[in-house]
Amino acid sequence: MSKGTRRTRIGQLLVAALLAVAIAPAASVSAADESAAPESAAAEGPCLIIGALHGGSVSDAGYNQAMHDSVMAIKENIPCVEIIEAENVPEEAGATSTMENMIAQGAKMIIATAFNHQYPALELSKKYPDVIFEHAGGWEMGPNFANFYGNPPDAWYMMGVAAGESTDSNKLGFVAAFPLGWTLTFVNAFELGAQSVNPDAETIVAYTFGWGDAAKEADATNSLINQGADVITMHVDSPATVLSTAESRGVDSIGFQSLAAQQFAPEHWITGTGFTLGDTLTWLASTVIDSTWEPIFLRCGMEEGCMTMAPYGPTVTQETKDAVEQARADIAAGTKVVFAGPIVDQDGTVRVAEGEVLSPDVMGSVDWLVQGVVGSPK
C-alpha cells in the first residue's frame, strides 16, 4: 500500500486502540466496585453513608450553607459516618440522578435539603425501601420517607418585633424569591411581629422570581428602599446581595437562613436567624444507625436549638432587645402563638378565626398575605 494509505491505516488503528483503552475500564470498574463493596462493609467501612443534596452552593452564606453545616455536624458527632454531598442540584431531574448515584455509592440515608427535592425523593423512596429519605421543609410522609424543618415562623415573628421597634418610616422591606407558601408565611409572621409593637408598620414585598438572581436582588432592595423602607429582610437563598445593597444605602437589615450572613452588613445589621439543625440531624442519623428510625414529621424551634437568633448589631437599642426577648419568652411559655386568630388578610377576609390557630401543615401552602403587607401574594 502507499505511504499515505499506510499512515492513515496506522492512524486509524491507533485511534481505535486508544478509544478501546479508554472505554474498557468502564465495564471493569463497575464490576469491580460491586464486588468490592461487601468486603469493605465487613471490614472497616463507615457505619453509615449519608448522601446530602443542596439546591445551591454550600458557601452561599444562606440556606444551603446552614443545611451544609448541619449535615457536617453529623460527622463531627458520629465520626464513623461518611457523607457524600452534592451542591447546585436545583431541579427535580438532576436531583433524581444525583440521588441514584449516591445510592449506587452505598448511601443508606438521603438528606434532601431543597424544597424541589421532595417529589423526586419520594419517588425514589418507593424504589429503594431500604434507604431512608429525609426532606427539609416538605409535608409528605412515607414508610421510609419523612421530613424535618426548623420553626421559622416563630423566629420571623421575633425579627418582626425587632424591625417594628427599629423602623422610623414604619415601612419594612421584604425581598422574596417566589410567592411560595412558606415565603408568604414568613412575611405574615414578620408583619404580625412588627405590628405587635408598632401597629402602623407595613411590609412591602418585592419578588425577584429567582432563588439566586443577584442583580434582581440588588434591584429589588433598591426599589424597596426607594419606596421608603428602612429595614430590609429577605427570603432568598443567599442574603449576601440584599444585605450588601442595604448596607451601601445605609439602611438597616435583618438576615435569614444562616448566621454567616452578618458579615455582609457590619454596621446596619439588626439581627437575624439561622437554621442550626446539626443536633437534630445527628439524632436522626443515629436512629438510622441503630435501626430505630421511624418516619416523623419533625419540627423544632428555638427552644430545641434548631433555630438560633444571631447576635445583635451595633446600633440596636436596649428597648429593641427587650422587646424581642419578651416576645421570645412569650412564645416559649406558650402565651403567644404567632398564628392565633383573629388574622385578617389584605382584602379583609378572616383567614384564622378567633380562638383558632393556623396549623403547621398548612403553612407551606398559604396563598394570602395579612393586612399591613403591601404586595401581591401571587
Binding site: S57, N88, A214, A215, S223, I225, N226, S244, S248, Q263
Partner: protein
C-alpha cells in the same frame, strides 16, 4: 409616586444598565467588524467570576476589574481564533463559547461563592452632605458607572473618527475590499474582538464586583442576550446604545415598583420588552435597519460564514 421612587428608577437604571451597556458595546465592536458572538453570556460569566475571585483573593477591586477585562478579551480571542483563523461557523462557535462560559465560570468561582469582597468604592459627590442618606446614596455611583457614558462616546469616536475604526467598519462591510487594499482583515478583526472582550469583561466585572457584590453560578441570567438585542436595537451605534441600555434597565426598575402599587402587570411580560421592541423595530424599519447593519454580518446569517 414619590420623588424618591422616581429618582430611584433613574438611579437603578444607571446602576443596573451599566453592565448591560459595557456588554453591548463589547458585542457592538465585534459585530462592526463582522463577527457575531452568541457566546456573550459566557464571556460575561467568565469575566464576572474572574473579577470576583481576584477581588476576593487580593482585596483590590480594581485588580478584579482588570482581571475581568482580560478574561473577557481572552474569551473573545478563543472565538476569534475559531472564527477568523479556522473559518468556523460563527453561530456554532458562539454557542460553544456560551457553554464554555457556563462551565468555566462555575469552575473559577466555585471557591468564592458567598465570599465577602471589598466592593468597588462608591464615590461621594460634593454638595450632597446635607441630603438624607437615602437620597445621597441614589447618586453614589462607582467609577465604572461614571465612565460608562464617556466610554460609549469613546467607542463611537474610535469607530467613526479614527483610521482604526474606519478599518474595523470596512472589514465589517466588505472584508475583501480591505484585503485588496493591503491591510490585514484578519488582524483588524482580532483587534476588534480583543477590544470588545475588554469592554464585555468590564461589564461582567461591574455586575459582580460593584452591583451585586456576589458570585453565583449563572448569575448573569440572560444579560448577554439582552445585550445582543440591544446592539441590534441601537442600529450598531454606540450612542444609541446608551439610550437603549437606560431604557431597558429603567423598565426593570419600573416593574419592581409596580409590584407594590397594586397594578397587576406581570414582571415576565414586561421583561419581554427588550426583545419584542427590537424585533418590532426590525420588522417595521427593516429596510433601513438592515442597511445600518455591517454588510458582512449578512453572510453570517446566511450561513456562508
Amino acid at each position: 409616586m414619590s420623588d424618591l421612587a422616581l429618582l430611584g428608577i433613574l438611579s437603578t437604571a444607571l446602576f443596573s444598565g451599566t453592565s448591560l451597556l459595557y456588554a453591548a458595546l463589547g458585542e457592538l465592536v465585534g459585530q462592526r467588524a463582522g463577527i457575531v458572538n452568541l457566546g456573550l453570556e459566557g464571556v460575561l460569566l467568565v469575566s464576572a467570576a474572574t473579577g470576583f475571585s481576584v477581588t476576593a483573593l487580593s482585596g483590590n477591586p480594581y485588580l478584579g476589574i482588570l482581571a475581568a477585562a482580560i478574561a473577557g478579551a481572552l474569551m473573545n480571542t478563543v472565538h476569534g481564533y475559531l472564527v477568523i483563523s479556522r473559518k468556523a461557523n460563527q453561530l456554532a462557535s458562539g454557542l460553544a463559547l456560551m457553554f464554555f462560559g457556563f462551565g468555566l465560570s462555575a469552575w473559577i468561582g466555585a471557591d468564592y461563592v458567598g465570599a465577602r469582597i471589598v466592593g468597588l468604592p462608591r464615590l461621594d459627590l460634593p454638595g450632597l452632605a446635607g441630603l438624607p442618606e437615602v437620597y445621597a446614596s441614589l447618586v453614589r455611583f462607582d467609577i465604572l458607572i461614571w465612565l460608562v457614558v464617556p466610554v460609549a462616546i469613546l467607542v463611537w469616536w474610535l469607530l467613526y473618527r479614527t483610521r482604526w475604526g474606519l478599518g474595523v467598519r470596512a472589514v465589517g462591510e466588505s472584508p475583501d475590499t480591505v484585503y485588496a487594499s493591503g491591510r490585514s482583515a484578519q488582524s483588524i478583526r482580532y483587534q476588534a474582538l480583543w477590544l470588545g472582550g475588554l469592554l464585555a469583561g468590564v461589564g461582567g466585572a461591574h455586575l459582580a464586583i460593584a452591583y451585586a457584590m456576589n458570585w453565583s453560578e449563572n448569575m448573569t441570567a440572560g444579560r448577554g442576550f439582552i445585550a445582543i438585542a440591544l446592539v441590534i436595537f441601537a442600529k450598531w451605534d454606540p450612542l444609541r446604545a446608551i439610550a437603549g441600555a437606560l431604557l431597558f434597565s429603567a423598565a426593570v426598575a419600573f416593574q419592581l415598583l409596580l409590584q407594590s402599587s397594586g397594578f397587576q402587570v406581570s414582571p415576565f411580560l414586561l421583561s419581554t420588552m427588550p426583545y419584542l421592541l427590537t424585533l418590532l423595530v426590525l420588522a417595521i424599519w427593516g429596510g433601513r435597519r438592515r442597511a445600518a447593519a455591517p454588510a458582512s454580518l449578512g453572510r453570517v446569517y446566511q450561513g456562508t460564514e
